[in-house]
């Protein structure tokens, strides 16, 4: 089980995340929602071990991850929000690089890399440099790199960014299957429909504070609204979206 207890992160004494607690059990998919600047990425960095919390702790199977960070990282697959890859490496070289650094057996690495490249429709382009890849192709390489070592914990930060419809559909089904296999999945996204369909549990963050936590139906019941979108708007939006849209159109037409 992956557990966060009272996670708090402050930048120069300004809190970005305050007292966030949650737990994800094997087989569960936790959807992590929040507007821009709500502290989602900061939380992701803390649960992936990239950043130390100012207060609180991240526990994996009951032990604080910082006590054996390397072992935890071996069991972790992470797709960051931004596809920062080495543009001068080919897709194949990047996977080989990551696999070797993860200490994977070379034969197994090759076998899995080839199979995953085929399945993600990148096999014909595996020897082209990442510089020439489209955004969707880069995102698929990131997904393969996160899955290639068969991790126990998967952290996805906006994983659908840049993916075409088919790839996104495949990915959604893949996440479901991974959940059924007993993986612990932390899914951070802005796309409410996807989160609603995929995740067994939800966590909504606003201004660094947890404002809702529970199953999708529990969150809907909590607000008394019919859809997740309405519930989300109710919980985090301080401005009337319709009014803002109307104002934008007015500004566009203004002399």
């Amino acid at each position: 089980m992956l557990e966060a207890r009272d996670l708090t992160k402050c930048y120069a004494s300004i809190p970005a995340v305050r007292d966030v607690s949650f737990a994800v059990r094997p087989g569960e998919i936790l959807g992590y929602l929040g507007p821009n600047g709500s502290g989602k990425s900061t939380t992701v960095k803390m649960i992936t071990g990239l950043m130390e919390p100012t207060r609180g702790e991240v526990l994996f199977h009951g032990a604080n991850i910082k006590h054996d960070l390397l072992t935890y990282k071996k069991l972790l697959g992470y797709v960051p929000e931004e596809a920062l890859l080495y543009p001068y490496l080919t897709g194949w070289e990047y996977l080989e690089f990551v696999g070797i650094l993860r200490g994977m057996d070379q034969k197994l690495l090759r076998k899995r890399a080839n199979a995953l490249l085929e399945l993600f429709l990148l096999f014909p382009y595996r020897h082209a440099t990442i510089a020439s890849y489209s955004k969707g192709m880069r995102q698929r390489i990131l997904l393969i790199a996160a899955l290639i070592h068969d991790p126990e914990v998967l952290v996805f930060d906006e994983p659908l960014s840049g993916l075409d419809v088919t790839s996104a559909m495949i990915f959604r089904k893949l996440v479901k299957s991974l959940g059924q296999q007993g993986k612990i999945i932390f899914y951070c996204s802005h796309v409410l429909e996807v989160v609603e369909k995929l995740c067994s549990h939800l966590l909504i963050l606003n201004h660094g504070k947890l404002v809702a936590h529970g199953s999708v139906s529990e969150v809907r019941n909590m607000t008394g609204l019919a859809t997740l979108e309405d519930s989300f708007s109710h919980l985090v939006q301080e401005q009337d979206a319709e009014q803002i849209a109307h104002d934008i159109v007015e500004v566009m037409g203004a002399p």
Binding site: K45, L50, L84, Y88, I100
Partner: protein, 587 residues
């Protein structure tokens, strides 16, 4: 046989790179040679072997040129019979030491950002199960190995050819070995010294300064270091003739020059150092020990301060205040930039030039070289000041021309280097490809970087030195020639600066370099000579010359506008065919 050896080598390499640590070392090594932008445009598309060959070539080439000085046959033909190779080689040793320092220093400055792991490394490596200590060790191993490879590469040819030339008449092979050993030690240590010194400087600044301030001053500091290195290279023409004053003048400024310390070190190893040089040689050893201790220490400190904090700086570096600009844009929009195209592309060009690291560094290097040469010319003009009373000597007249030539040609050169090509869709989608203002806009940008210092610095100084009529006339000639030069260099310029693919230089690189050198001679020496000749007749002719140059510029502009009237804006440079069929019959 060869195939099996190759296969075995490949397998061995794969086995080695299969080890995580060596793979990391190889990764950090590769990123030093590669581009760092998302599009992979950071590098100039050169392979590692091409870069090594380019760095090795000058040492070999210069050694071969020195054959003229050391060849016994040529000396015999010239009647130069008394020849002491140890004394004769002193200036050349100073040159090779300086050359080795300058090349290593330049490479270090240009690759400054790639030396330390960056945000991309952090995002890729930090989630992997590798200890930070191992990343750090792999990085430092890669840096040391590459520094060693560079130092050997830059100095290998000269370490063999130069001692061979100098010692060719010596009766025993041991003389060659001793000379070669001292030379190799000197140039290698000087390479390592500059590398470690710059490394220590970067590390110290990273430790002491806040991250945002370090990033802001980094580019200016690098340009300044490039200028210092160029000045050091130029010192090779002057310093050797003053080396003998070291023993008589204990406060000589030469004692502050690191190449002189390493010359002392080299000569001490060779057993040919006078007491003053031997003392400086000891200083060289001490300096070497200092930087060898300091560089790793500040590296460790800066590594822990910088790398570990990357994820936190990502979340806290958003700036909210608008950047300040020194250009009076509203005024320029009214007077100079007439169309929306000019206003938009002018802003884009100036901001890219000042903010894109690659472009500002290259432009800084050109301007720095111009400044160093101009200052050297100014110093020599003061040193042997001659000419007519009340009239400026040619050397003085040349000074601003030298600087202007490098600024203008530097700008023209960097305009061709793309910045984030993937982002040029915005130009492609908005601009009218039939727009004819690109050359005129580029000329305005060029003149923005010339006119202010000419008016604010050259004009008052010239007027103060030679009076209004001659001083202002000289500045008028300078400005008219700058405008004409910009016009000439922008012939066929049909692109938005920085928004087009690389031009195909390979086929015409040699001709281009020759033309630039010829242009430099004509612009920086011939024009001031003509100016001086006219001044001797009557100062009025100076104004005539400026008028002539101005009219020539206008005429050329009109001619070029008519010649390329139908040429569209280009965003991709096509390759030129290796040969063309000339339709001489006119049919």
């Amino acid at each position: 046989m060869i195939a099996s050896v190759r296969q075995a080598a490949r397998e061995h390499r794969e086995r080695l790179l299969g080890r995580p640590f060596l793979r990391l070392v190889s990764h950090f090594g590769m990123r030093l040679f590669s581009g760092t932008g998302d599009s992979g445009e950071g590098g100039l598309g050169l392979s590692v072997s091409a870069i090594l060959a380019m760095l090795a070539a000058p040492g070999a080439f210069i050694s071969i040129l020195l054959l003229d000085k050391y060849s016994s046959l040529l000396r015999f033909l010239r009647g130069n019979h008394a020849f002491d190779p140890y004394a004769a080689s002193l200036p050349d040793q100073y040159f090779f030491l300086t050359f080795s320092m300058v090349i290593t220093g330049m490479v270090t400055v240009l690759k400054w950002d790639s030396i330390f792991p960056d945000r991309r490394d952090y995002m890729n490596l930090a989630p992997l199960p590798i200890a930070t200590r191992r990343i750090f060790l792999a990085n430092i191993t890669a840096i040391v190995l590459i520094a060693l490879a560079f130092a050997i590469d830059v100095n290998a040819a000269s370490s063999f050819l130069f001692p061979m030339e100098v010692m060719m008449e010596q009766p025993k092979f041991i003389f060659f070995v001793q000379f070669g050993r001292a030379h190799f030690l000197g140039v290698m240590l000087s390479s390592f010294f500059i590398f470690l010194a710059l490394f220590a400087l970067i590390g110290t600044l990273m430790v002491l300064l806040p991250d945002a301030l370090f990033r802001r001053i980094s580019i200016y500091l690098r340009i300044f270091i490039i200028m210092l290195l160029l000045a050091l290279l130029c010192s090779t023409f002057v310093v050797p003739q003053f080396l003998r004053t070291l023993s008589t003048d204990p406060h000589s400024v030469l004692r502050w020059l690191p190449p002189v310390w390493f010359l002392g070190l080299l000569r001490s190893v060779l057993g040919k150092a006078d007491p003053a040089l031997a003392q400086l040689g000891r200083l060289g050893w001490e300096a070497m020990i200092c930087v060898s201790v300091l560089a790793p220490a500040v590296y460790i400190a800066s590594y822990y301060r910088y790398f570990i904090r990357i994820p936190e700086t990502l979340d806290t570096t958003l700036r909210s205040h608008a950047p300040r600009t020194l250009l009076p844009m509203a005024w320029m929009d009214q007077l100079i930039l007439h169309s929306p195209f000019e206003r938009a592309i002018y802003r884009f060009t100036v901001k890219t030039l000042l903010r894109s690291e690659r472009h500002s560094l290259l432009f800084g290097a050109f301007s720095g070289l111009g400044l160093v040469l101009a200052l050297q010319m100014l110093a020599s003009a003061f040193y042997d000041s001659r000419g007519l009373a009340n009239l400026p000597p040619e050397e003085f007249l040349s000074v601003p021309f030298v600087l202007a030539y490098f600024v203008i040609s530097g700008l023209r050169f960097v305009f061709d280097i793309p910045a984030e090509l993937g982002a040029n869709w915005v130009h492609r989608s908005i601009l009218d490809r039939g727009n004819q203002e690109s050359a005129s806009l580029a000329r305005k940008v060029i003149l923005t970087f010339v006119v202010p210092w000419v008016l604010l610095l050259c004009l008052p100084l010239s007027v103060h030195a030679w009076g209004w009529f001659v001083g202002a006339g000289h500045v008028a000639v300078l400005l008219a020639s700058c405008s004409l030069l910009a016009q000439l260099l922008l012939r066929r310029f049909r692109k938005v600066p920085f928004a087009c693919t690389f031009p195909v230089w390979k086929q015409s690189a040699t001709v281009m370099i020759l033309l630039y050198l010829l242009g430099f001679w004509a612009f920086a020496f011939l024009l001031p000579r003509l100016e001086h000749a006219l001044l001797v007749q009557t100062p009025l002719l100076l104004w005539g010359l400026s008028l002539f140059l101005l009219l020539a510029g206008i005429g050329l502009r009109k001619f070029q506008a008519a010649e390329f009237e139908d040429a569209p804006l280009v965003f991709e440079e096509g390759s030129t065919p290796p040969f063309e069929i000339l339709n001489l019959s006119g049919r």
